[in-house]
Subunit: 466 residues, 2 copies
């Protein structure tokens, strides 16, 4: 039997799709370069088939079939990845998790919520919000990403500075390993029971197994939310204010610093020439929010920031997930993307200056700008945006890749980490050794080979080219 016949026999014809529309729709994720390739008539190939499991057993059967046949298995959540983690090949089986989307349990006493991995992020948040709780993970992609995808990419949300990144929010992860075994990592509130195996799957991008279920440790919805904003004379001063705030022990859920270029876009009429803008959202128990607003304001003013209208932050809250589609931008000839990195406080200013300068030096660059969005005691992330408009269509891909290289090289040269929360995929895989070192990449490769000796799990992603 062919792989297709075996899958159909094991799962039923209704779960194994081969119609052109189904295949086309899942050829790739939301990576700009895949969209550009489509736009320019070089579309990624269709996969062999799309499998839509509705149970863990379906996933086990699919993994076993692919392993025995030596066929690549590419897991597809809801397709919001932006690093090229999903690109079909003609022989590959595309595992579409979107039909594994049940709520398994919401437990208000232990404040845990369990979902099948394909559950939509916004729907998951709504399900727990209806019980007065929050997952607390608010990526910009929340309406189009899956909870399993959050795990696979090590996602971060906009309120991460208090609620944590996804690794701080996840309680347990259920997965089908490449050998077909079903694991469930994370049994207890906290454990010292050997290495924390959840971390084999967090950030695995489909290379270590198929995530089938996720349980989150929830919070109560905040009693109160207040916003404020400040002008900083420049990015360096704004960064220093953030450092003081977090290192003095104030963990503000949202702290975002926009450089002048981005402030024009976000603050509108409230923009001040030459200034960066710091936006803060405080939430939690009412009495603590009231206190935090005052104390954080005091620190910001001490660092010589000036108060700005809170309407700036409120405007961001309202429009924070509005983004133009790649197609809108491509149709105007733009080459665009965002690139998130992080670095210690002492290096982040150089990362910012060098990366922006390097972006601007790229022919046809129109915009090289950045904002911070996730704050740590040891440092901070930056989220670069670039826009270029090459004269010739054939230069678009090269301009795109050169822009990425400019930012990642500037980051690595200044001691930063090349990936903050979007993952590695294909766009960063040959920069992974900047973070892990060659010895670290060798360790990751050894672990991957041990768990997936046939190499069927999303080949070509995460690990550098050999």
């Amino acid at each position: 039997m062919t792989v297709l016949e075996q899958l159909t026999a094991a799962l039923g014809a209704d779960k194994v799709l081969t119609d052109e529309l189904s295949l086309q729709a899942r050829r790739h994720d939301y990576w700009f370069l895949s969209a550009l390739n489509d736009f320019q008539g070089r579309p990624a190939p269709n996969p062999l088939c799309v499998v839509r499991p509705i149970s863990v057993d379906d996933v086990v059967a699919t993994v076993n079939t692919c392993r025995e046949a030596g066929v690549a298995l590419i897991t597809f959540g809801l397709g919001s990845g932006v690093c090229g983690g999903v690109i079909a090949t003609p022989e590959s089986v595309l595992l579409d998790m979107s039909s594994m989307d049940r709520v398994r349990e919401i437990d208000p006493i232990n404040m845990l919520a369990s979902f099948e991995a394909g559950h939509n992020g916004a729907a998951a948040e709504e399900a727990v919000a209806a019980r007065g709780m929050t997952i607390g993970n608010f990526p910009q992609s929340i309406a189009m990403s899956s909870v399993g995808g959050w795990i696979a990419t090590r996602a971060s949300g906009q309120f991460s500075s208090v609620y944590g990144n996804i690794e701080d929010i996840v309680y347990s992860i259920e997965a089908v390993m490449p050998d077909g075994s079903v694991v469930n990592f994370g049994k207890a509130p906290r454990a010292s029971a050997g290495p924390d195996l959840r971390h084999l799957l967090l950030g695995s991008e489909g290379t270590m197994g198929v995530i089938t279920g996720v349980t989150f440790s929830l919070r109560r919805q905040a009693e109160k939310r207040l916003s404020q904003a400040f002008y900083a004379p420049d990015m360096i001063t704004g960064l220093e204010a953030q450092r003081q705030i977090v290192q003095q022990g104030w963990a503000v859920p949202v702290m975002r610093l926009y450089d002048e270029v981005e402030s024009v876009r976000h603050a509108g009429d409230h923009h001040r020439d030459g200034c960066a803008v710091l936006m803060l959202v405080h939430e939690g128990p009412a009495a603590r929010v009231d206190l935090e607003v005052v104390e954080v304001r005091r620190i910001a003013l001490e660092v010589e920031l000036e108060e700005a209208p809170a309407a700036i932050t409120e405007g961001w809250l309202e429009h924070r997930n509005d983004v133009p589609s790649w197609d809108e931008l491509l149709s105007q000839g733009y080459v665009v993307d965002t690139i998130e990195i992080s670095a210690p406080w002492t290096r982040i200013g150089d990362v910012y200056n060098d990366a922006v300068a390097a972006l601007k030096a790229i022919p046809h660059n129109l915009i090289g700008s950045a904002h911070s969005s996730h704050v740590y005691r040891s440092g901070i992330n930056l989220y670069f945006t670039f826009v270029a408009q090459p004269n010739e269509e054939k230069e678009m891909a090269a301009t795109y890749l050169a822009s990425w290289k400019a930012v990642l090289d500037a980051t690595a040269a200044n001691g930063g980490g090349v990936a903050h929360h979007h993952g590695i995929g294909r766009v960063r895989k040959n920069h992974l050794s900047e973070d892990l070192g060659d010895t670290g990449v060798a360790v990751l490769r050894a672990v991957k080979s041990a768990l997936d000796p046939a190499g069927i799990m999303n080949p070509g992603v995460l690990l550098p080219d050999a």
Copy 2:
């Protein structure tokens, strides 16, 4: 050349000890059963030699020599482990990390501090305290444990409910892998760059590599500290108070609930018959501490706790690291230990009741009691203490192992995690599948085999008997 000759040639005779005193002193860690075996004239054997490296290169040479010779390499920090993670065999090389104890760097801007792995925990804390900062990890063993040991065992400190467990405090980990390569995991404040490889070493207990250096993400020392205490009519009500406090968004650095038996010991004259005692320590920015004390007290009183003298908590703070030595207890014929586990809120009461009942049912048991010491949104730990006094010396080991089994079985039967923060070692290794499942143990075994194919790294520890 013999292994001893090779090590001596590679490192120098001064770093390769074979005198009886050096060998005897490092035969085992602080596991009660090892102390009992010594006491009863069944001492663990001496290792082949004790290697005392002073550099990463020394460790690399030792690892390479052991791997090529197929000789077991047992890493020894400062010997405070209590689960049997270190027991020498006659052929083994004992790697004593205590001479790798330099402070590498203290960076007050990024609030990072780097130490060689053998650095004493209390000395590390003092080094950063002198600069106005804190690591924030205060295990009871702080004066006799190493920072590398904290990583290897996934340690927790007494202030963990706000400062986090060791995995939340560590920034990067340097290690020599079994193939002799040197890795440094953790480059950035946060990364989405594949699986977080620090977690291969956190909790590895010497089985995955030799940890040679640790960098911590620090905090500023707290501006203010306040203590309070409450009486709870019973453990269940006290646990409910803790659940309300943490789930309402108040993260108190120290929240410990002692059952009646332990309250007698800790509260002294302030003990109240029939009551459990809840101790809280608040610290941080002064204004927030003042607020937190009031808000947390309000919640505690709502759950019908009654205020108790803060002197109870202050007494604990003063004497929290005083413990009798095993030798003192053994000389009186006592069989004793503590066992830390965790469970979700809905299960922790049953774990408590069942474990205490099971301990008391063991012949010659004198005490079966518990307190909580680490709080999470999803649940809480319990720290059981047992004391037994068998009539016959030859029953001591069996009584000890039966007591452990009683608590771990009661925990697992009620859905708890069998190890909160002391690790697995030998005492829990055949319970590891309770946490990971058989499939999870198989994954851990596959990872271990991939990284250490010769099986030289601390064999016999962590993984269940095959």
